[in-house]
Symmetry: C5
């Protein structure tokens, strides 16, 4: 269980090293300096080096080329029968990205958003192409997301990813093996397949998140510790990040469904409606998890307050029972001169000690009986 909780609240380990504060948001490095003219491509210094892969396929055949140089890319088919999918992984090489942008006529504002990787998911329509930004869950189990940029024009799909490793492998398999309708449909169906694969990639992430929540809840009920609250906060923050990734995706799908984009056919629109349903479902789950996580804070605090009550009750019982007894022992420990008959005659009695013990036993038993009546004992 512990490992699941940790997987989802990983940044907690850093929080122990105050010398290097984690940032709740990735550094917001829009361009090198505020005010740079729009349309300049300045690559993120931490970006991975770029490589190009392409598929060129129609219903009958597939050409697949890995690590293709930018200069040897085939021309766009410009037809509905053939589809060219260029997949660029790694955004470090801004010249290469600019070159692709120039060859295929991509708008310079859209290209700029490709390299500035903290965009919200959105769709933008340009004269002869559509630009879609998505966030893709990493294929592990955390709430990390990377930016995926998709350009769609007639017969052409260009995707830009930040990192190696994606959710697109099943789509590639379907292209290679000609499974389903993907090879016989135009480019917009490929875009649908890519969006669908991206959205489907969130389900295993949330599945793990749900298990982490359930495990955390069990631990809080059984033995609440302060680290649990940190875990809950990290979970909530991860859920917030997922929500910020998924919510605008739903909006962009609504825009595509509602607006009249010539590049998206009505046939594909029915499939996109299906993806739209999946995003609504994801949002539903995220919101439910957020409510549950909020409830865990309540559960923790009420569990804490219950424990405080128990501790205080024990202290009160012990003090209340022993304070009077100790008083009695103090009483007969006084050194008054017993030659006077008024001074502590009990000390001289034959059964004085027994008398004192009986008083103390009576007081003790009486008080314990009172606590028992109040239901303080035996919890």
């Amino acid at each position: 269980m512990q490992s699941i909780i940790n997987a989802w609240s990983r940044n907690i380990k850093n929080s122990r090293r105050p010398q290097q504060p984690k940032r709740p948001f990735p550094r917001l490095k829009r361009r090198d300096a505020p005010g740079t003219p729009p349309g300049s491509l300045i690559a993120d210094p931490d970006a991975q080096s770029s490589s190009i892969h392409y598929f060129l396929f129609d219903a009958d055949q597939v050409v697949e080329q890995r690590n293709c140089p930018a200069t040897q890319l085939p021309p766009p088919p410009l037809t509905d029968q053939k589809v060219l999918w260029i997949d660029v992984v790694g955004l470090a090489d801004s010249d290469l990205i600019q070159a692709i942008g120039n060859s295929f006529g991509l708008h310079h504002l859209a290209l700029e958003d490709v390299v500035n990787v903290h965009q919200r998911p959105k769709v933008e329509e340009y004269e002869d192409h559509v630009y879609i930004v998505l966030r893709m869950a990493s294929p592990g189990t955390t709430a990390d997301t990377e930016q995926v940029s998709i350009f769609l024009s007639k017969g052409l799909v260009i995707t830009f990813q930040e990192r190696l490793g994606d959710c697109f492998e099943p789509v590639r398999q379907r292209i290679r093996q000609g499974k389903g309708r993907i090879r016989s449909k135009p480019a917009d169906y490929l875009v649908y397949a890519l969006i669908d694969a991206t959205i489907d990639g969130y389900f295993p992430v949330l599945d793990v998140g749900g298990e982490a929540l359930a495990a955390l809840e069990d631990e809080i009920v059984i033995n609440p510790k302060p680290t649990h609250i940190e875990h809950v906060h990290n979970l909530k923050r991860n859920l917030l990040a997922l929500r910020r990734a998924i919510w605008p995706t739903r909006d962009l799908l609504s825009v595509i469904l509602r607006d009249d984009m010539p590049l998206v056919s009505d046939g594909t629109r029915i499939y996109l409606r299906d993806v739209h349903d999946h995003t609504v479902q994801l949002i539903d789950i995220v919101e439910t998890y957020r409510e549950i996580a909020s409830g865990l804070v309540d559960a923790y605090l009420s569990s804490q307050s219950t424990r405080l009550n128990e501790v205080m009750k024990l202290l009160t019982i012990m003090s209340t029972v022993f304070l009077p007894l100790t008083f009695v022992t103090g009483l007969y420990g006084m050194n008054f001169d017993t030659s006077s008959p008024w001074n502590m005659p009990e000390l001289g009695w034959r059964f004085g000690y027994v008398f004192a013990l009986l008083i103390m036993a009576g007081a003790g038993v009486g008080l314990i009986y009172l606590f028992w009546r109040r239901g303080w004992l035996g919890r």
Copy 2:
């Protein structure tokens, strides 16, 4: 009372066994792997085995067949006078479902949603049929729901349910006995009757939930225990689940009422408006219950803090009364050499002991009087 509370917060028992964590959401097993081509039917491994029942009726006669093989289903009547209702219970047999889909021309995306049973309630219009997803409360008293898929085309209604046992029995009785208008109306009226029965099935569930809330409130007022908070959280979670089942049902009814669907007649629309009112009423009740449940957390915490205050008051009264008394006994328990007249002359007094007792009684009575003045005694 206890049984009612437990019925509604059943999953609490599992929470005691940390080895098998409950999941706040059912496992989200969309398809076997993300990216499978859309339209593949992969049955849930836990699904019940499928069986088919059908009714074929018009105003004059009824044919009812149980456990009909898929190959012997009658053809759709394709008229408004006759209605064929095919009811498939259990979703394990994906071939059978595919076969039915093929015979009656159901869209493959809709069929896929039939077997992926964690859909939100929704309505989708296809070329010649309407696809409706509902969630049906189990006919027990818990907040569990199962998915019901309803297809409507001319003269034909096909329903898919996850499990045996449903809310449709009264509808079947009305068909068999020809009560009301159901036999003489077209297929859309049957769909209305099924939606109405499904929605009505939530009322007894909420009735039990309301009793659980009231019983829980009584117990929290009289004797708050930490398990109560767990019960409240389970109740809240169940209410959240019901809300997620009912809220989109209202939206789908609004869509049917607003949109111009040729398969739904104006006469049936008036009845659906009535069902829409019932969902609004249900949402109202769920929201009220959620507010009340939130108030219970407040009540619990303030009850806890009141108890802590009482415990602390008792401890403070006892300590404050006995600390000075014990100090006095300690004072006269010191062993100073009484040969010096300055050293504790009280010890040699004839009424020294009485003097000391009076001092102590005075201090004790004075402090108790002070507490009484502050209103701390006798609560």
Copy 3:
């Protein structure tokens, strides 16, 4: 004051008797069984027995008949000059209600809502009549409401009430005495007058609620008790019930004002706009009261925490002062053999006792001075 608070939070008395749990909602007894065919009238077994009163009036004369049998009701005037108002009190006699529905052509779905008395306020337009559901505050001072159903068709107003006693008496007086415009206006003006009287009936209820809130706030400030939190919760629940009664009333008035209903004339619409303003005002007040009630929970908790702080301060002061003193008395109560000059030579000093007293006085005064410096004394 107490009586006002109790009037508004009456159900608190039951909460002491756990054997009979109060329900946060009235039992939701829609029909005898889920799935009964729509349009069956099944009376609530707790409903009052039915009786019919009618007014038949025009600008010149009034006929008023109490306890009229259903068979002797006059026919509807079907004109704008004459108005027939049939008022049915008590919903136990479903045959009678069905008979009235049949004679005047009321829709069976509307009739069903008349007897199922937990409807939300709403307006429904049928072919030749309009059906309005309102909730009427009981003419006492509690937040109880009963359902009022109003049917309007040409020259005819039919009202159904749950219980004897209503807010309509002033309207009846105006009809009898011909005050104002009511006798010379068509039926829709009578409907306006009835809605207006119903809405006005909420003002005294809220007035009492406001006084209860103010009284409760005073008591919480002066002497918070756990019962206050219960009172606050009951108040909040009553306000929630009122909000659920008033909010949809505003919506139904908006619908009447916005939609083009031929049965409501433009002249009456101006008056209904006025009633709409009153409902907005009522919602305003209810929302304000709810915010104030929420603030009271805060006030209670902070008052509790202040008291806990004071109790703890007293305990800390007493313990901190007496613990060192008692230690000193214990010190000189030890029985070391004073024949050794190293063993407690103070005991043999001439002013040893005085010396010990001075030490103790010094410690006590010093600690009290420290507390005084910290501002703990004299609060």
Copy 4:
């Protein structure tokens, strides 16, 4: 500072006298009895006696008359060149108000709202005049508001105020002295000037409220007291009252700007857009203040909990240090017969006392060192 806080939370003084509870809302005395026929003018018994002042001006000259009898009012100019402004202060004389209503053709429902002074700000269009209700901040520094009713028809403005003293004096000065455009513009510009003056009157009120908030925050940080929470609640309630006064004002301005009212010219609309901006700004400030006030409750509670922690730490340190020491003194205060060599041989040692003192010093220093290590000391 204190005076500022008190100015804004004045009703707190009453809260000490439980015999006369303050009401969170003014008494809701709509008409004498629910159900009175609409359009009856029944003056509030607490209303000020009425007096009429008027201005009659055009670009060239001004006639001003104070305390004019109702019968001597000039006729409305019915032109855009001349403006008659009738200002009625005090609403006790319902006959006079009725008379004015009759002479100038004001709608009886609007007149009724003039005397029922708890209206929300709103605008209503009648056949030949527009009726505007505003709430005017009292020219002091509190959150009290009075109702201002403004009627606008061609060449005529009639205002009704509850009390002497208003924000209109600068407008009167501009009319008298002919400053700005006011004398040369039609009646709708005067209405704009009055609304503008009313809205501007909220700025000093909020300025004082902001200072009260800041002062309160300083005091809560330095020395939190329970009265601060009461002050915060009064501030929040006052802000709520202002919000309820300003929010609908924004709506009414939106309505005037959006709707096509023939009585409001496009030239004046530009000025009203400016006033609309001011109300948006006011709402912004009120909402910010409300958020800050909510934060103060948090600050108070966390400050309280910090103090409790400190008190508890002191108690724990003192008890934990002295309990073992006192135990040791008790140990050597026991009276075992030292003739047995096993019975407390330390008592007979030459350095027994020193030994005991060293043990106690060691224990004390050790515990204090532990606390110092935990960082409990020296904060």
Copy 5:
């Protein structure tokens, strides 16, 4: 880290000086007195003295003039090929502002808003010019903003700033060096560049805010102090201020994008859509930070309550262990006359002391074992 937190919560230092209360809002000095005629320019007494700089450029050449007297400003080009940008810094000289307003025909209501510097961001369209109000983050790292007013008409852009120092320097550089498209595009592109530079200026501010949040979270986890809550509140207030600056900016951009303004070309609209995306991104970040800051309050309180629990546990353990031991020592410190065989025979036993020590050791070890079983020891 500390410096970062302080930079963002600077006003906390003032809060220690109660004699000069900080105001949560800048003083709201709209005009000298409420009711002044609209359109009077009254400069803020704290405003900086005014100075004028201008650029006059087309694709080929640039004229730049610093500190130009108002009388020597060039006439507006009135063409799309040439752009005149007049930048006025400092708003103290109302005559100068009035003179500029008169020469270029700016509306007097807009001019009034230029000097009343607490406007919300907004856009207003006048007959031949558009008036835009923005708030510009100071180029430091705090949440302070100043008002920037931008007038756009054909070939002319006039900006008014409150203070020296702005985000426009990169735009000036691009004009001087002819980088990008700025020199060859009409005036609306310059306005876009200015808005873009203003919006981009918020990113470094939020970057610092995010680091402050992360640093604060680390400190609260490791060692919570009451000052942290103050820091959190100041952070929240700063975020609230930024939100109030950015949110309406998004709205004004939506208005420009949606409305059909002849002064803004379709080409520039695509760039403004890009800026709109940036504001949405900023709002996203601000909202996330606000949620995180709210979580920090929870974290602080739960950390406090954990510490209280620990303190109480230590106190309870010490008291519970030592109270019985001290009772035993008191018991054998009593002075009963041991000549009676019933009076404390243990005192005369040979191993009485050892017996007593064993009892005490047994009690102590037993209690500590109990605590260990409960998991109280070793945290």
